[in-house]
Amino acid sequence: MTRELTRPLPWNWWLKKAVYFQFMMRELTSLAVFAYALLIIWALLSAADAGSFSTFYTFLSSSLSVWLHLVILVLSLYHTGTWIALTPKVMVLWRGDERVDPGVIAGANSILFLMISGAVIWLVLM
């Protein structure tokens, strides 16, 4: 019986290839989405009581909060981009015998995302 050699992945495997690094960044940026979800939950919980809402409101107007929002926005946009890029893999559409071009599906999703985001921004600023 020959001795076989097993080669476990080193801990830094994701630093060895750009694609693996991008994958890790995609996964890590989901934490930004999670952080914003926590912020929304805080907002909802504090809405019931005037005292805690004013604490939340004070936090919102702080420069820390502005920076936090900016960072979360950038990371969430990156994360959203990776999801939109993934849509043609999941939504395989056929027009008769021909597969709809993946670029068209990703493009349509991007336009939809921009339109919904635009509508939300318009609603908030109205």
Partner: protein, 248 residues
């Protein structure tokens, strides 16, 4: 026209040494040489102890997969002239146990392959006199891409999920499950669910996507797995909303 290159080749001789080493072979190569030609030249002219697998030499049998400068490649399709580095590093496919030199043990893959029932499972077998199961070109187009796999296992070597957890069913086997699930003559999706829609199956895939990039046959296992996720998730949702009509 001939040129000179150095192949830095991974050596593991379990009878002589416990750790792998790298051995450099300097050689002249022709412009039309692929990496496999160079390895065969080494074996015939320089060092007959070097072990590696190959068979068809035309990208069909899937047995000559190796890491070339860290990328999983079919060495019979990888031209030396395309590497402008002085030295080309050749290693056995990542994530698989090494038996000797560039030869890996693929038992794990072979054991997983039949688990997803990669054959047609019709609800009812037609009697022979009814003739063939006919398909339109459009029906063939739905699964054709996923049927082109040559079991070269480059996708397993590119997949860090498999590298971290070898219990993951893996890209090629799941792509083959998708190939049958998408076939109009097949009704085996539910039968395959226990293997395919398991934690070690599609749900372990985190969509790194590199399996699709390295596939020499353009199979797109990453896409197949995402499609499987959607179809099994919809099937589950249907079974919750309409428990009776789903038949599960």
């Amino acid at each position: 026209m001939s040129d000179r290159t150095v192949l830095d080749v991974y050596r593991y001789l379990p009878d002589n040494e416990s750790e792998p080493t790298f051995q450099s072979y300097e050689l002249d190569y022709q412009d039309n040489w692929v990496v496999l030609d160079a390895l065969n030249h080494i074996k015939a002219e320089i060092d007959s102890t070097l072990s590696f697998r190959w068979s068809c030499r035309m990208g069909v049998c899937g047995s000559c997969g190796m890491m070339v400068n860290g990328e999983p490649k079919l060495t019979c399709e990888t031209f030396i002239r395309d590497y402008d580095t002085q030295t080309i590093t050749i290693e056995p496919l990542s994530h698989f146990p090494v038996i000797r030199d560039l030869v890996i043990n693929m038992d794990d893959f072979m054991e997983k392959l039949p688990r997803v029932s990669p054959w047609l499972i019709p609800d009812e077998d037609k009697p022979l006199e009814d003739g063939e199961y006919l398909q339109t070109p459009a029906q063939v187009a739905h699964y054709k891409r996923f049927s082109m796999c040559i079991n070269c296992m480059l996708c397993y070597s590119a997949c860090p999920v498999y590298g971290l957890d070898p219990s993951f069913t893996g890209p090629a086997v799941l792509a083959l499950a998708a190939r049958y699930n998408l076939d109009s003559r097949d009704d085996g999706m539910k039968e395959r669910a226990a293997e395919v829609s398991a934690h070690e199956g599609i749900w372990e895939c985190t969509y790194v996507g590199e399996c699709t990039q390295v596939c020499p046959k353009d199979v797109d296992p990453a896409g197949a797995i995402q499609m499987l996720k959607l179809s099994y998730a919809l099937d589950w949702a249907r079974s919750v909303v309409m428990p009776r009509s789903s038949g599960s």
